[in-house]
């Protein structure tokens, strides 16, 4: 219970410093998507998605299953490249760089755009190695000391260091689900991304582990652009500053989270968030 009390205290501190919901409108655009379409073979999954993702804020994608929100998320770091028969049209720009530029190094892109998945998926390696792996292959550390520093600071940023500092050599899979998910976030942070994509990061976690991750997301948004796909509308309402509602492969409505959840413009959005039969 101490942990819960500690969290509540931490949250109230964060709330004091949190940005005005409308500030999100004034944030610079980090990611800009225009007319993005995705086909899986003959089947079209996304129809002309255009959206600007603000810098250093949390943007959530909501919508019923199969609405295309995860598909769109996966376009941002070209995860759809790995799916046979998937074709992506339109443009996605990260700080003005075309993500689908044929000359772009996809490995480097995925370092700039990290991803956290629904199910925590640590490598079958030690906690230390899980975090050190990325910086090593990207050549971010010149010495062992550098690497240690990156691992410790990433674990700290992911709010996990204190819990694992005495067992960095134990396997990552020995951690609890929530800890594993934070390890995956540390792993993503370790390569110095600008954007972190999260695909249902809490759906396999209990409410307390979820609250800890949400608190972490709230802290991370000071330094990173975060895009989160979630089935929990309450979670979207809690953690994000901007919300986009997808339905049948189309972006129906996007806007300041507070507006989407209190006074959405479109009936489809309204029916979905209110749990009505549309």
């Amino acid at each position: 219970m101490d942990m819960i009390a500690g969290k509540i205290k931490l949250t109230s501190k964060t709330v004091d410093q949190s940005m005005n919901p409308l500030d999100v409108l004034e944030r610079e655009t980090r990611l800009s998507a225009r007319d993005v379409t995705v086909h899986y073979g003959d089947k079209q999954a996304l129809f002309g998605i255009s959206i600007d993702i603000p810098d250093r804020a949390v943007t959530s994608f909501i919508g019923p299953s199969g609405c295309g929100k995860s598909t769109f998320l996966r376009c941002i770091n070209r995860m759809n490249d790995t799916i046979e028969g998937a074709r992506v049209g339109g443009s996605i720009k990260l700080d003005g760089d075309d993500v689908y530029d044929p000359n772009l190094d996809v490995v480097e892109l995925r370092a700039r755009v990290g991803m956290v998945f629904q199910k925590p998926n640590p490598f079958p390696k030690s906690i230390y190695e899980n975090v050190a792996y990325g910086p090593k292959i990207h050549g971010l550390a010149r010495s062992r000391t550098d690497l240690d520093e990156i691992v410790v600071s990433s674990l700290r940023k992911a709010g996990l260091f204190e819990e694992v500092k005495d067992r960095l050599n134990e396997p990552g899979t020995s951690l609890s689900g929530g800890q594993q998910q934070r390890l995956c976030i540390a792993r993503a942070i370790a390569v110095g991304p600008q954007v972190i994509l999260m695909d249902e990061p809490c759906s396999a976690l209990d409410p307390i582990a979820t609250a800890i991750i949400e608190e972490l997301i709230d802290e991370l948004r000071e330094n990173y652009t975060i895009v989160i796909v979630t089935h929990s509308m309450q979670q979207a309402a809690r953690v994000s500053q901007k919300t986009a509602f997808f339905h049948l492969g189309k972006l129906i409505e996007e806007g300041v989270t507070e507006d989407i959840f209190t006074n959405p413009e479109h009936k489809q959005t309204q029916d979905y968030i209110m749990g009505r039969i549309g």
Binding site: A237, T262, N263, I273, M274, G275, I277
Partner: protein, 236 residues
């Protein structure tokens, strides 16, 4: 609950929203009756009706507590969003306004007990009688705007509040004249002045309810920058 078109996937949730709207309507009906009875007791110095009105206020208070409980329970269990959230939040506000109006009606009834045995000329009452009719109409219209989620009707109610205020000012002057004419009128006329003040406040609560109706329908607060709104004394 009207005007939203589609039903919830969870029918029990829809049922609760309907129940909440019905409770507000029922409470509104009781409050209107209390104003009518309170004023009638005052005008006819009817002790029995006054007592009934005072006792009936307890029922109004219970209704408010009941609506609050329902709203809190729905927020906790259903995580309401958008217009559902507004319906629930405004029901708490409207019930609170109605409860205050109930108190005012009770005070009108109490005042009648104090006026017993005093010499009152029928002319003294005319102003209070007219003001009651106007204020009752305001309460009725505001509750109609709320239940039908009609933002335009809500603005109308707000605009008509000026009439209530004007009537209060003229009634104040009139009663002052009677008091100056004959010092024996001072006690009854002061009582009537308090009654007029209560009625004027009921008018303000009608405006509050109309503001909640506007918010319920539009999701926006009714502020003085709304063009159709002529009223000047918008709360800050």
């Amino acid at each position: 609950m009207p005007a939203t078109g589609t039903d919830h996937i969870v029918t029990a949730y829809s049922d609760e929203l309907i129940q909440l709207a019905q409770s507000i309507a029922e409470m509104g009906g009781q409050v209107e009756l209390a104003i009518e009875n309170g004023t009638k007791a005052l005008l006819k110095l009817d002790r029995e009706l006054a007592d009934l009105t005072i006792i009936a206020d307890q029922r109004i208070d219970d209704m408010q507590r009941n609506i609050d409980d329902m709203a809190v329970s729905m927020i906790a269990r259903r995580q309401p969003m958008a217009s559902d959230l507004r319906a629930i939040i405004t029901s708490i506000h409207v019930a609170n306004d109605l409860e205050r109006v109930g108190d005012m009606a009770k005070q009108l009834a109490r005042r009648s007990l104090k006026l017993e045995g005093m010499s009152l000329q029928p002319t003294f009452y005319n102003g209070v009688k007219n003001m009651t009719a106007l204020v009752l109409r305001q309460i009725k219209d505001s509750l109609d705007a709320y239940s039908s989620r009609n933002a335009a009707a809500a603005i109308q109610v707000c605009n008509h509040d000026d009439e209530v205020d004007a009537m209060y000012t003229s009634l104040f002057r009139e009663l002052l004249t009677y008091m100056m004419e004959d010092p024996r009128n001072i006690t009854p006329c002061t009582h009537l002045l308090f009654c007029a003040k209560n009625l004027e406040r009921i008018g303000d609560h009608a405006t509050n309810i109309a503001e909640h109706a506007y918010y319920l329908q539009t999701g926006k607060q009714l502020t003085s920058d709304i063009q159709e709104l002529h009223r000047t004394q918008i709360k800050a």
